[in-house]
């Protein structure tokens, strides 16, 4: 009988332990307020410097890095030989209200730069805004677009580089935070 007692004692101990530690449902609301920073949307606003007419073009992929296709991906319409004042608005629209990432980029302007390129259409870009590095380096939230005389279809490629402490005006430096290739028509 002496041998049975410790067995019962031990089993009871473990059953008690198990019962007390049993109820562990996970927090099913995790990420209701999860502040993950995403960039979901880029809005390009173009003001024709001659006419003052404003047009907006957007890329919006609301699931961020998820596998769903973008919900909006506009074709940029430009007029040949016109000059535009361009501003870029970068948002996280997965949040309500949307988070204005471009303001945060501006706060970290010394670590960020936008780069602009074209394929098959002629647009020359000039930076309007500069950071507080010495010497000052461009940011690229505000730019001037000089459209050439040829009409046709092509692309405008906008890229945001994150260059923490290593910003050098060079596109090859750092990581890519944003890279959108807008279809573009010059008329």
């Amino acid at each position: 009988m002496n041998r049975i007692k410790p067995v019962i004692f031990i089993i009871l101990t473990f059953v008690t332990l198990s019962v007390t530690m049993y109820s562990c449902k996970p927090d099913t609301n995790t990420c209701d307020n999860c502040e993950v920073e995403l960039i979901t949307s880029a809005y390009v606003s173009l003001t024709d410097s001659a006419t003052g007419a404003v047009s907006h073009f957007a890329f919006r992929d609301l699931d961020g890095d998820g596998a769903n296709a973008p919900v909006q991906f506009d074709t940029i319409q430009l007029s040949a030989n016109h000059t535009y004042n361009a501003t870029l608005l970068v948002l996280d629209e997965s949040k309500t209200p949307a988070d204005t990432i471009s303001n945060e980029i501006l706060e970290e302007a010394n670590d960020h730069q936008f780069f602009y390129h074209t394929h098959d259409v002629t647009v020359n870009f000039a930076y309007v805004d500069f950071d507080s590095n010495t010497p000052a380096l461009p940011i690229g939230l505000q730019t001037k677009w000089y459209v050439g005389s040829t009409t046709g279809n092509g692309n405008v490629h906008i890229e945001l580089k994150h260059q923490p402490g290593i910003k050098d005006g060079n596109e090859a430096t750092g990581d890519t935070d944003l890279s959108v290739e807008f279809s573009t028509r010059v008329q």
């Binding site: 031990i10 019962v19 562990c24 990420c31 502040e35 935070d177 890279s179």
Partner: protein, 780 residues
Amino acid sequence: MKLKLFGALIGVVMWHVGAAQDTACTLTLKGRVVDLHTNTALEDVAIVAVETQQGSFADANGKFQLTGLCPGTVTISVSHIGCETQLLQINLQRDTTIKVKLEHKGLQLHEIEVVEAKKESHSTQQVSLLETKQLEKLRGLSLAESLSKINGVSTLNTGSTISKPVIHGLHSNRILILNNGVRLEGQQWGSEHAPEIDPFMAQRLTVIKGASSLQYGSDAIGGVILVDPNHLPDRPGIGGEFNFAGYSNNAEGNFSATLEGNHARVPALSWRVQGTYRRSGNVRSPAYWQKNTGVEEGNFSAALGWKKENYGFEVFYSRFYTRLGVLSASHMGNLDDLNRAIESNVPLELSGFSYKIGRPYQNVVHDMIKAKAYVATGKAGSLDIVFARQFNLRKEYDKRLPYNSQLGDRPGFEFQIQTLTLDVIWQHRMVKNFNGTVGFNGVTQTNNFKYGYFIPAFWNFSGGVFAIEKWHNDKVEVEAGIRLDYKWLQAFVNHNGNKNTFTFNYVVPSGSVGFEYHITDKLKWNTNLGTSWRAPQANELFADGVHHGAASVEIGDASLKPEMAYNLSTGIHAATRFFDADVELYENLITRFIYLQPVLPPTLTIRGEFPTYHYRQANASLTGADIDLCAKPIRGLELFSKTSLLFAYNLAIRDWMTQMPPQRFENGIRYTLRDFKHVKETYFGVSVVNVLQQKLIPQNDTGYALPPKAYWLLNFEAGFKLQFKKQAVHFSVTVTNMANIAYRDYLDRFRYFTDQKGVNAALRIRVPFFFEPKSKAKTN
């Protein structure tokens, strides 16, 4: 409702295995008694295990055998007519064969020599061990790096700071690690999540290759790794050891100390405390420093035991903490960044030497508390109960800080997983050549996360019952077992504004049969057929997003079914005076193997296009061989050769499988000198490791660059022991990659970004110590 009730039931009676074998009283001590001078057999010698009063007589050949012994220090009395009875103490950890040499006049006990210690009790499977002596040369390496010395085990690396063990081509969730008898549960699904184990705690590492769900539960498709400390001391006194290991390449220092004791006044009580601290800086490749590859690690464990003849308790606590840098140049914004990194011969971010760890880095804490009890249930056998709670907190810090500076320096991902395990195992003593085990083990788990979504919150309950029976005679050992597992998993997916709850149920049987046949004393043959299963993991079911570092999108599939492995292995083992050989062949057929299949079109995001992979299932066949040969032409000289071959084939797409270890060869020479005064056990050796280019890759493999070229490495090792009376100091030196070759490895996920470690010299010092209590000193 019914389901919940069942879940609750399992929660109450949780169970799980593995822990038990260390107190199982099933060990065998074989031996032979010979005359010291004439070397002839002595018969009619009575051999008695004092603690259990089991006895045996040496036969006409001087041979004897004691079975059903408990592990730990066993006192053996050796008696001969007309002589004084002699006692000898053996620290028995597994089946052991000894040779006792006696001096005939007055039967002075002269010498015992451990001839052979058998590989655990998983005899019909392929089992490899690393013990104190081999571990001594590996101190300071991670668990995976240490285990890669075993033929058939390789490492899956994420740069030089993260490595995971790979057994016969399988890793992560497909192998099981038992840390001091408890199933290690962290976030092992991630290939960049290294096992949370302090290798200094282990005095023995065992690898069971091949499917072994039977004793250990689900997931053991590739094999099982057992990490075991020594048993708590049962000899009065205070002992322990101090370890130092320093490495030249990354200015790494390792300090580890163990202190343990037992007191003559309270012989049942014993204790141990152990701690390790490790710090390393940036790793040097032959041509440059790898930026941000430092590691800081601190580990602590404590154990307290109470051991009586018929019952015992043990409480164990351990904490593992690491903060490890991840190569700066490895973070990819998009595919263009990745291609740029691949085209560059050097990492795109370089630095000098530094101990500083910046973003990106990982911060991991793993806590375990374990309580164990053991009761001898009369003559019938013994009962073991182990309860453990593990808590794993993993924080992964991305390279970039949040845009919003108010969010501060917070991690990109945080995972918290709590695991409770309970194992109840009953082992019956030998009855007519049969011995066996029945058991019952269970796990409950709760997973939460914060910040970024990668896997959902979930909870699960799982449990299994099993029975294993063994029969043996002098020549043959036959083993068979069956098991039934149940697993319930509920996941709460809350992603992109959608909330869904998924519930999964699995009921899976598994089994194993095997035999070991001793053809002669020096030659044996073993064969095992075992099955194992694994439920799909949260990431395979629910992943949805970019995997940075790989710059690819991974998409899970909630309809995946469990994998089932059928593993056949056979081996021939010869051990002779001049030649040792272990030849092991295996075929692991895995149905519904889960893998990542590239799909088109690539995913378009605001960061550009990403190649996209879906989790799919297909039948797979992994065939391979591990061949170990060792020639000993003259005393002290060993010429050894290790070959590890693997052919992994996807039967559905009729093509090779991706990310499998390439063929690997190691050839070397080792020479052990004779003892010279205080200098003992002196050895030195060189070896050449040769890894071929992996050519067995799928045709449509969208791996961004071809597998790295074949490489060879030259390694050197030497060591000796200084013995002053009772105090010994062990020294060893190793130099890896002596020729400072720049190479990349196919199983390193950072092979696109950087070369491997260059030349690395290590110095290791081990100082064991033991202080006997003064009052007791004279009795020995």
